[in-house]
């Protein structure tokens, strides 16, 4: 009798322990992953989903520091400045039980360099990847590449044998509508395995009990149910009604409501994204203004005056309801090259701005069209509206043209706008990325997003040299120098750093990731 009772008690304890361990995280955000193929589509929500199931060699923590993942350590080779050596973690298994070795790394890099891969630009400098032993890999680049590891944090590792056996060695031809085995199946080394997937409806993942970091990370979530919910009001309602536990893409106007609700919390952190205005200063005459035969934006005094007219604190308080950090440079604080001093350089001074306008010969002002997206950044259109009023104070009459992002962004890359809003994140956490896309003169494969017409050959030389400058101090000095030019030239008008908000049930423990990429293995569920 006693024995039975004891057994029952043990059984009861065990079952209750099992209940504690079986925690489902119901997670929602606005969009879904486009595909599960690790190397097709370089896009935020797709990467976030993959990060649960696949792993790169290295990831970043919420402060932007590198965290060893499938590589335990890495360093430039002592013998050859063009080579980086990565030591791999031993004892890692893929979901199907196969061992993870150097062979898989070599294979994954080769796969990611295929023409259909969206990741190929990030590893364009890599000329060879060699397996030195089972757990050592050498990566050679076409010249010294001091920031190579920064480009690898979203480059996922696949199992060579599994990929070959399932005929999915070629990266999915996404644009051609190809569905491959890797599009819908996952065999990663990650903390979660794929249970089921219905694109745009629901994706279910289960904890990988054989995960190498089983004891190292909390791993308190045993099942993830991921549902995209597009409508902002519905998304918040689902969180308020307890149908989901964790919400990304919180609408700013509902923050207070969610924060005040019983059992819910809102966590926030600065996001890796700056919002700013670009001005076409390269053209002799621009179309969007009412000045004939001249381009007012070509005059640095006008650009400075426009920046000084913008009251960033007012935008932060009124438009963003506190959900932003006024910016003075177009780099977020995590990025190498950011300084507090430069970020504080944009100061409101309407009188000074008027004086500068007069000095430049525009005391009567001019009118110009501002192109603005209305469905891309937080309150994008409202920010532009605020700017219209502020620029009006110094005589710049702004006609606002707010349109969907699908129409707005092509205007910038096609050079069809003279005054526009843009936001920029820096996945590599290094200024070089900003310079390559926003500062370097526009050429075929560089300066793609530079809609300013600014083209400084001397500066371009320095920007290009950053890629292979292994003397980090000298490199950082160059970066600081380039920033000085950007600031003095008022190349762009910085507005603010976006703030990221995650809503969650009280029992969910996770810190906000500046890249908006939650990794569920870090979640606690108390």
């Amino acid at each position: 009798m006693k024995k039975t009772t004891a057994l029952l008690t043990v059984a009861a304890l065990m079952s209750s322990a099992a209940v504690v361990n079986a925690e489902t995280l119901r997670w929602a955000r606005a969009g879904d992953a486009l595909t599960l193929d690790p190397h097709s589509q370089n896009e935020g929500p797709s990467h976030t989903m993959r990060h649960q199931m696949y792993e790169p060699l290295i990831i970043r923590d919420t402060a932007g520091n590198f965290v060893p993942t499938l590589a335990t350590d890495w360093a430039p080779s002592a013998d050859n400045p063009n080579v980086w050596v990565f030591n791999l973690r031993e004892g890692v298994k893929f979901h199907d039980g196969a061992d993870f070795t150097a062979e898989d790394v070599v294979f994954s890099f080769e796969r990611a360099k295929q023409p259909n891969s969206d990741m190929k630009e990030l590893i364009g400098s890599i000329t060879a990847v060699r397996a030195v032993s089972d757990y050592v890999v050498e990566i050679e680049t076409d010249g010294p590449n001091p920031i190579l590891p920064s480009n690898l944090t979203n480059l996922f590792m696949m199992d060579k044998d599994w990929t070959e056996a399932n005929n999915t060695v070629n990266v999915q031809d996404f644009e051609g509508g190809e569905i491959t085995f890797a599009t819908t199946n996952v065999n990663g080394t990650g903390a979660y395995t794929l249970v089921s997937r219905e694109p745009d409806v629901k994706t279910v993942m289960a904890r990988n009990e054989a995960y190498w970091g089983r004891d190292e990370f909390p791993l308190e979530v045993s099942e993830i149910v991921y549902t995209p919910i597009q409508n902002a009001a519905t998304r918040v309602a689902a969180l308020l009604s307890g149908e989901i536990d964790f919400l990304q893409d919180m609408p700013v106007q509902d923050l207070a409501r969610v924060g005040d609700a019983d059992g819910l919390v809102v966590k926030q952190a600065p996001q890796n994204r700056v919002i700013f205005f670009g001005m076409n200063q390269g053209a002799d005459d621009i179309e969007a203004d009412d000045v004939d035969g001249a381009n007012p934006l070509a005059d640095v005094r006008v650009r400075k005056a426009m920046s000084m007219a913008i009251n960033r604190d007012a935008i932060q308080q009124v438009v963003m309801r506190g959900q932003s950090e006024p910016a003075g440079m177009i780099a977020p604080p995590f990025v190498n090259g950011w300084t507090a001093e430069m970020d504080g350089e944009s100061v409101t001074d309407v009188e000074g701005a008027k004086a500068l306008m007069a000095e430049a010969g525009y005391e009567d002002g001019f009118s110009i069209r501002l192109d603005c997206p209305n469905d891309r950044y937080i309150n994008d259109e409202a920010i532009c509206q605020a700017a219209v009023g502020m620029l009006g104070q110094i005589g710049v009459t702004v006609n606002l043209d707010a349109i969907p992002k699908a129409q707005h962004f092509p205007k910038i890359t096609d050079g069809a706008t003279d005054f526009y809003m843009l936001g920029w994140g820096v996945p590599t956490y290094d200024s070089e990325y900003i310079f390559n896309f926003l500062v370097h003169g526009r050429e075929d494969d560089i300066g793609t997003w530079n809609g300013t017409g600014y083209d400084n050959d001397e500066l371009d030389e320095t920007i290009k040299s950053l890629a292979s400058n292994t003397d980090l101090d000298a490199r950082n000095a160059d970066i600081a120098g380039i920033w000085r030019v950007i600031q003095d030239e008022q190349l762009y008008i910085p507005i603010h750093h976006q703030v990221l908000n995650w809503g969650m049930a009280e029992n969910v423990g996770i810190e906000v990731d500046p890249e908006d990429q939650p990794r569920v293995k870090y979640f606690t569920m108390q």
């Binding site: 370089n42 644009e175 509508g177 549902t227 519905t234 309602a237 149908e243 969907p404 699908a406 494969d445």
Partner: protein, 323 residues
Amino acid sequence: MLPFILKRIFQSLLVLIITGAIAFSMFTFVGDPIDNMLGQERTMEDIERLRAQLGLDRPIPVQYVKFLGEAVQGNFGVSYRQGREVSEIIMERAPATLELAALSAIFAIVVGIALGVFTAIRRDGFVANFIMSASLIGVSLPTFLIGILLIYLFSVELGWLPSFGRGEVVQVGWWTTGFLTESGLKALILPSITLGLYQMTLIMRLVRSEMLEVLRQDYIRFARARGLSERVINFRHALKNTMVPVITVIGLQLGAIIAFAIITETVFQWPGLGLLFINAIQFVDIPVMAAYLMMISVMFVVINLLVDILYAFIDPRLRVAAK
């Protein structure tokens, strides 16, 4: 009769081709699909290459003719957003919309007729007047707001019903159904009320006015004079004659329910064709937009064609006039 039908079919085809052409020429104003398809690290080369690969560098009429040629063979191309066959995606999404539409229609018809008859019989009663006034709100509030209000009341405040999604679904062949699980049934309630509310009030008002009309007829008075019970008069004699015009309207409204499920599906994150269409617009997913618009046009054209032909069968004068 045959020439009449052939003529109508020819006209319908013409309507389809013109609708398609208008839709296609409007796609250029939606934006550039290339922009969404390539990451921010794209180069000018990537843009050119993809544009050529998708045939977007060709003139719009050429793109349209190519689309028509392939659509006739049942090939609607590949979704720019999901990278899968459009026809496959539509087949996958259709059950959700059709189930929602069916339930909304049943709700609209049953409740609409019941309330219509009630308000006609008790037309001076307090309850009937209340229903009539309330129905005005139902007609004038936008679907979006009704959906949000229902979610707020039944999901957030009361916690009875889910605010989004289809719940658990069961796969029957290629069809997925929410009718066989508890969570699936629960998930159907709010969206089908939201979607069917407008049609419900419409049917109710129509039934009421038709019924009032019929109740004034002589044969009803004679029936009363013969001493038939109110129940028999109202339901056996009056309602039957009320239903002829009502059924015509219901038929046309069914098409509208499927076509206008877009807003309801967006509010409730209902994984059907309407949500697919909204996603497609935001992403400038031209193949999906084109296929959806063509499908809806075909549906309306076919419904109208059938109605025309039926009328012609019933009323010979139309046949003569058509000649």
